[in-house]
């Protein structure tokens, strides 16, 4: 009798020990908002999707289908996701959030770069439409509306930082919640309540390049990309605030640093063979490299001062990545080699967590825990709306004539 109960206890201990061993491969991720990566937003919020004429969305896509594959494609996929999601409601009176399906970044040059010059006008025209056709905009002047603006500097609608700062966030969007890829603390183009999302990286393309996880990681630091943008900034010092050039000048002779401007076909495979992947800023502080590093289990080394990383309240980026100040770039090798190995192994375990990788991706069709769900979770965490956002009758806060004159032209 005693012997059998002893064996039961032993069995239980053995099982728990074995399950703990299994979990040694990954670790749970909980950010400042708690363990929220795997939350299910269904039932926690309701989103109403405005029915805009197709000139704001479908026609743009028909004109240029490249919008579906570039790194700003999140706006299009978010629309498609919401249309078929269970959080969507067709009754706007019970909706918590309102979504405007507009693709402001889908105006591409022949080489594929988006031109932001018409985006403010398009946004303005869309807002005029929804404010005149539905009462919900005027009710709160957009405080319970959210917009996906994945462009370089978010709703500042410009690719050049100085011009973007000068323009500031579009005045009409100042009360709305912005879902954007750009995030930098104390920057004009990041509003307090914005939700930062990762840039779009095609999940199938990345998953097609997986290699077995027991192939040893033999590259210490890996980076592929420009160090000097010779077309736009030949002397250096502008591009990436000189940080990328500093990386090159200091470490081009260092065999531990596999850095170059080549774009090999084995780019994804090489990332899976590296321990650290550099994610320095470029013209904007964010880049798809972060997504790629997370998906391939390479610890991201983020060289961008004051950057706000995606889903910063759900993902504790300080525990996952390494942050290096731009002024410390010449000591990058010292910094990286002085990280204790236990810390490195823990970071790799956190990165191996599948919910971490899922949270960075926009898979088609949507899967639980992916970036779409994280956006909805972020929106759900902002609920319930504060009473003060509901304006009294006739009260107006936004200035409809603010901004450069060129923005006021109809689209």
């Amino acid at each position: 009798m005693i012997r059998s109960s002893l064996s039961v206890i032993l069995l239980f201990l053995f099982l728990s020990a074995s399950s703990a061993e299994h979990n040694a491969r990954t670790e749970r991720i909980s950010g400042s908002a708690g363990d929220v990566l795997e939350d299910n937003p269904v039932g926690r919020l309701k989103v109403y999707v405005y029915d805009l004429p197709s000139k704001y969305n479908k026609k743009l896509l028909q004109k240029d289908p490249r919008c579906l594959t570039h790194m700003f494609a999140a706006e299009i996929f978010m629309h498609r996701f919401l249309l078929s999601s269970p959080v969507r409601t067709r009754n706007p009176d019970e909706a918590d959030w309102f979504y405007t399906p507009i693709y402001p970044t889908c105006d591409l040059t022949p080489t594929g770069l988006p031109l932001p010059f018409k985006s403010p006008r398009m946004m303005r025209s869309a807002i005029q439409l929804i404010s005149s056709n539905w009462p919900y905009w005027n009710r709160t002047e957009g405080a319970d509306h959210f917009f996906v603006v994945p462009h370089d500097f978010g709703a500042c609608f410009h690719y050049q930082e100085e011009k973007a700062i000068k323009r500031g966030i579009l005045p009409l969007l100042q009360r709305a919640t912005l879902v954007q890829t750009f995030g930098q603390r104390n920057h004009v183009c990041l509003d307090q309540g914005s939700i930062t999302i990762p840039p779009f990286a095609p999940p199938q393309k990345m998953q097609a390049h997986y290699i077995p996880p027991d192939i040893p990681r033999s590259i210490f630091v890996y980076f592929r990309g420009l160090f000097y943008d010779v077309n736009n900034d030949p002397e250096g010092g502008y591009y990436a605030r000189g940080a990328r050039a500093a990386v090159w000048e200091n470490f081009k002779n260092n065999p531990l640093f596999d850095i170059s401007t080549d774009h090999p076909t084995t780019y994804y495979e090489d990332m899976q063979r590296s321990i650290f992947c550099l994610c320095p800023l470029g013209w904007a502080p964010w880049s798809p490299r972060l997504v790629e590093a997370v998906v391939f289990g390479c610890i991201p080394v983020i060289i961008a001062d004051d950057i706000v990383l995606p889903f910063a309240d759900a993902i504790p980026w300080e525990e996952i990545g390494v942050f290096v100040a731009e002024k410390d770039v010449p000591e990058l090798d010292t910094i990286l080699t002085s990280i204790p190995t236990e810390v490195i192994l823990r970071k790799q375990r956190l990165l191996a967590n599948p919910s971490m990788k899922q949270a960075m991706l926009f898979p088609q069709p949507a899967q639980p825990g992916d970036a779409f769900h994280q956006i909805l979770n972020g929106l759900a965490r902002k609920l319930p709306h504060d009473r003060s956002i509901y304006l009294r009758e006739g009260e107006k806060v936004l200035n409809w004539t603010a901004g450069p004159v060129g923005d006021l032209k109809p689209w």
Binding site: N186, H187, D214, F220, P255, D333, T334
Partner: protein, 518 residues
């Protein structure tokens, strides 16, 4: 665009980037000024032949007292002073819309004085890499899927080919990515010879002595080997070793996949063994092949001519029987004594083709299935031929290696002649003396060496090799004999030395008819 960028940056360095209240007239003046400057720079560049950087003007124009100076790239020794653009804002905490600490504009490219790898850092990085790879191996590699210890049972005894065979098994076991316990049972008791070989393995070795000496015929040897294996299994039972027991006969060769495959065994498994019934006699082999072909032509195929022994399965991968090596072609011509020059045939079912979960051998009856006999009660004298005698129900054996289709190890028996001898520990002791014929010595007038050795004469007579190795005891013998005859018969000494010459050539050439004292 470049012009405007530089323009903007210059403006930014003079005032806050948020300050949009620029005077219009001053702006136009500045614009004109910059245009003029631009043209001037272009002209200068044309003259000089290279691009004349306008950075020079920045450094000329901007005063050192300006708080917005970022050090230029060619002043690498000084770290650039990073000064807040609007220091006043830093003090006021309420100003939430303070400008970013990060400034837009031209920054210096920071280069440290010695931008080359530091060897200490490189070593640290390599240690990190090695630790990460170890962790990867532990998590994803062989250790991941719940690896079980491999318990290898090897019966051996001291003979010439022991070193050859045992080293082969040892190297295979050293490469196994799982934990290994190697039980070496030695006929004739534990000897230093075997201990010195297996001690170099690096795996855990249990060296057990077995009191009988290994007999001279293959049949008897097989029987003694069975007893030795059972002795090893008793060790497994007593020490309660946990893992998969496999029988690594010392002349077998195992593939690495074999060790991966046997991890899948639940209780008792069988693998296909390639049988290499080799004899030293090439004619024999050919004849046996021909005979086999004849037999195949006469009867169609009831006897398989594949040199494989292992489980046989039906179409649904269920064990239905055993493939056994066809010994008929060798009937009457197989080796009986260990050093016969004839094909050595295997038993009906060799032990090496079976693997078992070590728990079968343990005492407690709870863990084992019912179709396993109690190992402790096994009577060895009843003639245990194959491991199937350990089971009540031989049909419960699990066929491994995709139901016996993969041959994962090879069985071979090769031994030297019964009277063959080898130096103990394969160390030639006392050391031989090596002399080299010096055709051109630095002392040309020195007469040829005194006849105590007389190697140069012999080597000259040989002509093939300059290095003549003569075992010292023979040499001593020769010396003793030559010393006796030294003063008297010179001519006969040559003849006398002709004999050691023969042995010398034998030593330096093949060891086929090797006769050396043990």
């Amino acid at each position: 665009m470049k012009l405007s960028a530089l323009h903007q940056s210059y403006l930014n360095r003079r005032r806050s980037p948020l300050d949009s209240s620029v005077d219009a007239p001053s702006k136009s003046f500045l614009a004109v000024f910059w245009l003029v400057l631009h043209c001037l720079c272009c002209l200068i560049s044309l003259l000089l032949g290279f691009r004349f950087s306008r950075l020079v003007f920045f450094f000329l124009v901007s005063t050192p007292s300006s708080s917005n100076l970022y050090s230029p790239p060619f002043r690498p020794d000084l770290p650039p002073p990073r000064i807040d653009l609007t220091p006043s804002n830093a003090t006021t905490a309420e100003a939430k819309t303070s400008s970013s600490r990060v400034v837009v504009g031209r920054h210096g490219i920071l280069i440290r004085p010695w931008p080359h790898p530091d060897p200490v850092e490189v070593m640290k990085a390599h240690r990190i890499i090695e630790r990460v790879q170890r962790e990867q191996k532990a998590v994803f590699g062989a250790g991941a899927k719940g690896s079980r210890t491999v318990i290898a049972v090897t019966p051996t005894y001291v003979r010439t080919f022991q070193a050859l065979h045992l080293n082969g098994v040892m190297h295979s076991l050293m490469l196994v990515p799982y934990d290994v316990v190697w039980i070496v049972v030695e006929a004739g008791g534990v000897s230093n010879e075997t201990a010195s070989i297996v001690g170099k393995s690096g795996v855990r070795v249990i060296h057990v002595g077995f009191d009988q000496r290994m007999p001279n015929t293959w049949e008897d040897r097989g029987k003694v080997e069975v007893l030795m294996r059972l002795r090893a299994l008793r060790v497994v039972k007593e020490e309660k070793l946990d893992g998969v027991v496999m029988f690594a006969d010392d002349s077998n060769m195992h593939s690495m996949e074999f060790f991966d495959e046997i991890q899948n065994v639940k209780w008792f498994g069988a693998v296909s063994v390639g049988i290499l019934a080799h004899s030293g006699n090439a004619e024999e082999m050919v004849m046996s092949m021909d005979k086999r072909r004849e037999m195949e032509e006469e009867e169609s195929s009831s006897l398989s001519s594949l040199p494989v022994q292992g489980p046989a399965c039906n179409a649904t991968d269920k064990l239905i029987g055993w493939h056994v090596f066809n010994t008929l072609p060798y009937a009457g011509k197989s080796a009986v004594y260990i050093d016969d020059v004839a094909a050595v045939l295997p038993q009906k079912l060799e032990w090496c083709g079976f693997v078992l979960n070590s728990r079968i051998l343990w005492d407690e009856a709870e863990s084992k299935p019912e179709w396993v006999k109690e190992f402790g009660l096994l009577n060895e004298n009843e003639g245990v031929e194959s491991p199937l005698s350990l089971l009540n129900d031989p049909s419960m054996v699990e066929p491994l290696g995709s139901c016996g289709r993969q041959v994962l190890l090879w069985w071979l028996r090769v031994e030297a002649r019964a009277d063959s001898k080898f130096p103990p520990g394969w160390v030639i002791d006392p050391p031989l003396e090596i002399t080299v014929a010096a055709k051109r010595t630095p002392w040309p007038d020195v007469p040829p060496e005194p006849p105590t050795k007389k190697k140069d004469q012999m080597s000259l007579s040989q002509g093939n090799n300059n290095v003549v190795v003569i075992p010292k005891h023979q040499q001593q013998q020769q010396q003793r004999s030559s010393k006796v005859r030294k003063p008297k018969r010179r001519s006969k000494r040559n003849k006398h030395e002709a004999k050691p010459t023969d042995t010398a050539t034998q030593v330096s050439s093949s060891t086929k008819h090797h006769q050396e004292r043990n």
